[in-house]
Point group: none
Chain length 253, copies 2
């Protein structure tokens, strides 16, 4: 049985031009040619084509594929090993590049975020304060004046405007960093690391942010529309993503 170009092309999923090309460079000359000059491919040719496409898929050049297929099994393993190393290097480079891109996105977001600072500034900390107060109120109700409450009072009382700005900036950076990694999923190590830093940030600057409080803060991000709106403004869906990530973080403690 023999097949014409388009038949082969349709069967295997390549273009007619590709077959022409493979013929031209001597990679896959058809077994026979019709009186009218049509290329006629045999089943063997089809197999060879499959091989070619396989090696191509693996990233080999056509010339390399030709060499590998023509030489009977001799250099194949070595070639593949060498190629594998190339691929791994490529992958490593890609990973580095991806991080670089992420960082760049972060910095761009950071810059934009800084412009929105007034708004975010005004909102976020007051929100956190409010959450703290609410929680503290409950806590107070339960336990009287908690340490956390007093601690926060002491800490925040002394903050200057510059302090606030610096603290805000750090917070913003964390937010945007997490936003840029949203597609990695909430359980991603880098995301979790950022979440951890977020808790530390709150602890350092406001009050001892226990896992319970932190979990509650995550819920607040979704339940309080003011939080949600403001956070999602950084990136849509960030609020609920944060909640999830924070829950996962707390679960693991």
């Amino acid at each position: 049985m023999s097949y014409k170009v388009k038949e082969v092309a349709d069967m295997v999923g390549v273009s007619v031009r590709t077959l022409h090309h493979y013929d031209q460079i001597g990679l896959l000359p058809p077994e026979s040619i019709s009186p009218a000059g049509y290329r006629l491919y045999s089943d063997q040719d089809l197999e060879r084509l499959q091989q070619i496409l396989f090696f191509k898929e693996l990233g080999f050049s056509l010339q390399e594929s030709k060499d590998i297929i023509n030489k009977p099994g001799f250099d194949r393993k070595e070639a593949l090993s060498a190629h594998k190393n190339l691929l791994i290097e490529k992958k490593n480079r890609l990973e580095k590049i991806i991080s670089a891109v992420e960082q760049t996105i972060e910095s761009i977001e950071g810059v934009r975020q800084m412009d929105k600072k007034e708004m975010f500034e005004a909102f976020d900390m007051s929100m956190i304060e409010r959450h703290k107060e609410k929680y503290a109120a409950e806590a107070e109700y339960k336990y009287g004046h908690t340490d956390a409450y007093q601690e926060s009072e002491k800490k925040t009382a002394r903050y200057s405007k510059e302090d606030w700005t610096a603290i805000m900036k750090q917070g913003n950076e964390l937010y945007t960093r997490i936003a840029s990694k949203m597609d990695r999923g909430p359980e991603d190590p880098q995301v979790q690391e950022a979440v951890s830093q977020w808790r530390q940030h709150i602890t350092d600057n406001f009050y001892n942010c226990t896992p319970e409080i932190f979990r509650g803060l995550g819920d607040l991000y979704v339940n309080d529309e003011r939080f949600t709106a403001n956070i999602d403004q950084i990136k849509p869906g960030l609020a609920s993503f944060l909640r999830e990530a924070m829950h996962i973080y707390c679960d693991k403690l």
Copy 2:
């Protein structure tokens, strides 16, 4: 301060031709041109070049870089995000390809083993013969001429070269089959089945391979460095694995 092509090239680490090219496509036209037609780059041009190289490093095309750099910060983030997704896809594809290559290497290793037949052929059977002789000598010493010994003599005497080749091929297939299942552990049913076939193979073609002889053969694989070296050449650790498997096999009889 202005710089000529080679100065810039050396500073930044690109070729002169590249700078020509970037000028040609309007990506980085030098700030000024000397009376003689020399390209004169400014410090600003250098910065721009750095940007270009950065985006290039990230895998953007020159055209894309041009667009990104020219448009003031507006689309940048989006472009970066889109690009990041591309990169992640690329990475995933690479990972798949790497496993495919690994698999192919493995399968070729199996095949290649077959090609090494001559070497293995020459060694393995002479070794088995020797083991047999040694064992038979002991046996003879103990029991006089054993059946097994005579049997082997009769059998092997008639073998033609083709017979040997066929027998070798079978043996090799068993070895490689076992090698490919090493990670299952020596007591794995499939491994044990192959071991059983290995004993049968010896019995069929050489001499009645009693459990005692078979066990001794297993020890030989580890104790005789010529065996060990040759077997481990199929796959490192195969010799001792075989011994273990053969012992387990014999224990169960």
